[in-house]
Symmetry: C2
Subunit: 424 residues, 2 copies
C-alpha cells in the first residue's frame, strides 16, 4: 500500500490496526535473537564427526609432531587445503587459529606499528584512511575505529562497491591505505562482486605504495543453492597486473565447522607472507596444530567441503526462503521497502526509507532482536536510516516465522508513523 | 682439574687428548637438538585421552554452546581452572588459545598503541624501558626488541632478580614500564623467587603509573619431584599493598597437554581484565572454546593436573638426573664451570668463564645443538660469554647421554683453549 497517498485520518486508523495486529502476533510470546550470523545448533552437529575421530588421528607430520611446538605457518596439509579454497599456492597461505578477524587485526596492527613491507609505519604517517563500502561488516569498521583510521563510506551497488567513486579517491590520496571487501555473498547485501569489479580493484591506480585490499572471503563456500555464485580470482588478476602484493585475502571455517572454534587463514603474495611470518615470530609460538590436523582430516578437500556445505544449506535455505515468501507476500511492488535475495552467505539486507532505527526498536520492544540499525555503516552512521541486517541462521523455523511477522508489522507501523509525521 | 696452573706444553697435550676423546665419543654418530624446551614424544602421549574423549563431551554450556561464537573471556569452567592455578578469582582470568606468548605480545601491543588503562600510549611516551633479569627467556626479550623497548639487564641471583639493583631504578625512572619475570623454576636458571623477592616486586615504589610486572608463571605446576617449590602468591601481596593493578600473570598448558596446542591464560585485576577485554573485542571473535571444553574435561582441577604432571616428571627427571650425575663426576669442585640443579621447569643453566660461544660451536660441529650462546640475555649480549641453556626434555636418554658427553668434552676443550691463549 502506498501510505503516502493516504490522509492523516486514514493513516491513524491503519496505525491502530497494525498495532492491534502486532499484539495478536506477539501472543505467541517467543523471544528471538537475530543480532549476529551465528550457526544454528543443528549446523554445529554437522562437524561432530571431526571431534569423534580426534583420538585416532596420526599427528606425526613430515614437518614434525603437530602436538608439539613448531610450524608457525600452520601444518602443510592445512596450508594446501586453504590454498585450494583461495585458489593460490600453499606457500601463499598462513593458517592460524579460529578467528580470521584476529588475522585482520594483526595485519593492521603490524602495519600501524611496523609498516607494510619496507614502508613507514602507518602510526608515523599522520591521518590514515580506509575505503569502507557500506552497508558492510561492522567488525571491519570497528578495527578502523579502534586504530583511529578514518573511514570513507562508499556505496555498495549490485556489482560490488561503487568503483567510479573509489578509483579517483585512491588514485589521488596517498593517505588511503586500504579497502574492506566481502567479495562473495557480501555481508549484509549478499552481493557477489562482478568480474569487472574484481578486475578494477586489483588493477586500479593507487597513490599509496602501501595500499592493501582486505579481501574477506568469509563466504567463499557458503552457497545456499547448487548453482554457486562465481567470484573471479583476484590473485590471478593481480598476478598478471603486477599488483599481487596489494591483496590480503581471509577465510575461516567458523561457518563450516564451529563458530569461532574452527581454523582461519590469510592468503597473500609470498613477499607479504614472509613479511607477516617475520612479525608473527615475535607475536606467537604458533597456532593450535592439533585442531588443524582434525580439520584437515574432516574437511579433506574443496570437493568434500562443498558436500559439507550442502548439509548447511539444507538447514539454512528454508529460513531464507521463508523470509522471501513472507516478504514477497507482504511487500511485493511496494516502494518503501526493498530486500535482498541472496544465493549464499548469512544475511538478508532490508532497506527502508528513513525508519530503520524505529523498526528495530519496535521489534526489540516485543523481544525480537535485530542488529542495531546503523551497525552496517562506518561510525554506525547510516545517514538515510535505511539499512537493517537480518541474520536468519540461528533461530529455528518457528522462531524465524514469528520474527518475520514481527518485522513485517514493524516495518508497516514505522512507515505509517513516518507518513503521519509528514502530514502533520 | 685447574687448567690455569698448567704450562702451555701440558695444556697442548691435554687439548690433543680431549680432541681425541671427542672423536671417540662422536663415533656413536647421533644427532641431538636441544635448542628449545620441547616436550618429548612420550610426554605428548599423556594427553591423548583428551582427544579420544572429544567426540563424547557436552559442549552446551550455561553461557551458550562452546561450538558457537561468544564467551570472549573463555568458557567459565576454564576460567575457574586457571583461577585455581593462579590462585585468584575466575573473574580475574581470561582464557585464550594455545600461546601464552601471544597474550604477552597483545598486552604489550595494547599498551604501545592504546596505553595502559587511562594512561598515554607507550608509543607516545618517548623511550620506554623494561627491566630484564638475565639469564632469562629469549622470547620475552624478543618482544621488547620488536617494539623498540630498551632493555635494562639485571642479574639473576639465587633468590630471583637482584632487587637491590631494581628498586632504585624503577623508583626514579618513569620510562621504565615493566619487568619480565619467570618466577618459578625460572627459564633457564631453575630459580624459584623467594618470598622476600615476590614481596619486594609487588610492593616496590615505581615512578611510572603504568608500570606492569609480566609474571610469566610458565612452570607453575612443573615440578620434577614430589616436594614442589612454593612460590608466594604475588596477587595476595599486591592486593594487600594496593598494587594489584601492577600484576599481569601468564600460564599455559603447552607443557601439560600439547606444545603450542594447549590453552593459555592471563590473570590480572578485574580492572585490568575489563580493560583487556575491551581491547580484545576489536582484535578477535574469541578463543577456540571447543579446545577449552576438551581441556577442562581432561585436566579437571589442580589436583588432577598435579597427577598428570607426575607422569611428565617421571619422563623428565631421569634426563635431569643423568645430567647431574655426569656433570658431578666430570666437574665436581671445578671452579671454571657451574651448573644449576633445578627441582622443576625445563632447563639446566650452565655457566662457564668466557667460552660459552666456543662450547656451543664445538658441540654444533659434531651435530649436538644447544641454544645459541647469548640467547638468554637481552640483545643476545652475554658480556661474560658465560651462559649456556640446556633443554633436556626432547632427546631420549641415549641421546641425552651422548649430548652430555659431548658437552663435557666441549667445555674442557674450550677451557683448555682459553688457558692456552692466556699463556701465549
Amino acid at each position: 500500500m502506498d501510505y503516502s497517498k493516504l490522509s492523516a485520518e486514514e493513516l491513524k486508523e491503519l496505525l491502530q490496526q497494525e498495532q492491534k495486529e502486532l499484539k495478536k502476533i506477539t501472543k505467541r510470546g517467543l523471544t528471538v535473537d537475530m543480532t549476529r550470523g551465528r550457526p544454528a545448533k543443528d549446523q554445529l552437529e554437522i562437524a561432530m564427526p571431526m571431534l569423534q575421530r580426534a583420538g585416532e588421528l596420526d599427528y606425526a607430520l613430515k614437518a614434525g609432531d603437530a602436538r608439539n611446538y613448531g610450524q608457525p605457518q600452520g601444518i602443510r596439509p592445512a596450508m594446501e587445503l586453504f590454498a585450494e579454497i583461495f585458489d593460490v599456492k600453499p606457500e601463499e597461505v598462513i593458517v592460524a587459529d579460529g578467528s580470521s578477524l584476529n588475522i585482520m587485526y594483526n595485519v593492521i596492527q603490524f602495519a600501524m606499528q611496523f609498516g607494510v613491507l619496507d614502508n613507514e609505519p602507518w602510526n608515523n604517517q599522520g591521518k590514515i584512511k580506509f575505503i569502507c563500502p557500506a552497508p558492510g561488516y561492522d567488525r571491519h569498521f570497528s578495527i578502523c575505529e579502534k586504530f583511529g583510521i578514518e573511514m570513507i563510506t562508499v556505496p555498495m551497488t549490485k556489482t560490488g562497491p561503487d568503483m567510479d567513486v573509489i578509483e579517483p579517491l585512491v588514485a589521488s590520496d596517498a593517505s588511503i591505505k586500504g579497502i574492506w571487501c566481502v567479495p562473495k555473498y557480501s555481508n549484509p547485501t549478499g552481493v557477489t562482486f562482478s568480474d569487472k569489479t574484481v578486475e578494477r580493484i586489483a588493477t586500479m591506480k593507487v597513490a599509496a605504495k602501501d595500499f592493501r585490499v582486505f579481501w574477506d572471503n568469509a563466504y567463499a563456500v557458503h552457497a545456499l543453492y547448487d548453482t554457486d555464485d562465481k567470484l573471479k580470482n583476484i590473485f590471478d588478476v593481480a598476478r598478471k597486473a603486477g599488483t599481487i602484493d596489494r591483496i590480503y585475502s581471509f577465510a575461516s571455517t567458523s561457518k563450516v565447522t564451529f563458530g569461532g572454534s574452527g581454523i582461519s587463514a590469510i592468503a597473500a603474495s609470498e613477499t607479504n607472507i614472509k613479511s607477516l611470518l617475520k612479525h608473527m615470530f615475535f607475536m606467537t609460538i604458533g597456532p593450535n596444530k592439533v585442531v588443524q590436523v582434525m580439520h584437515v582430516d574432516f574437511l579433506k578437500d574443496l570437493d568434500n567441503i562443498k558436500k559439507i556445505m550442502k548439509q548447511h544449506a539444507a538447514i539454512l535455505r528454508p529460513k531464507f526462503e521463508l523470509f522471501e515468501k513472507k516478504f514477497s507476500e507482504a511487500f511485493e511492488g511496494e516502494e518503501y521497502v526493498q530486500w535482498s535475495k541472496p544465493r549464499g552467505g548469512y544475511f538478508i539486507s532490508v532497506d527502508v526509507k528513513g525508519c530503520a532505527k524505529r523498526i528495530v526498536e519496535i521489534a526489540a520492544s516485543v523481544d525480537v532482536k535485530f542488529t542495531a540499525a546503523g551497525s552496517t555503516f562506518p561510525y554506525k552512521l547510516d545517514d538515510a536510516d535505511s539499512n537493517i541486517r537480518i541474520a536468519p541462521s540461528c533461530p529455528n523455523l518457528e522462531e524465524m516465522d514469528y520474527a518475520i511477522d514481527v518485522l513485517i508489522n514493524a516495518i508497516k507501523i514505522a512507515e505509517i508513523e513516518l507518513q503521519l509525521k509528514r502530514k502533520q
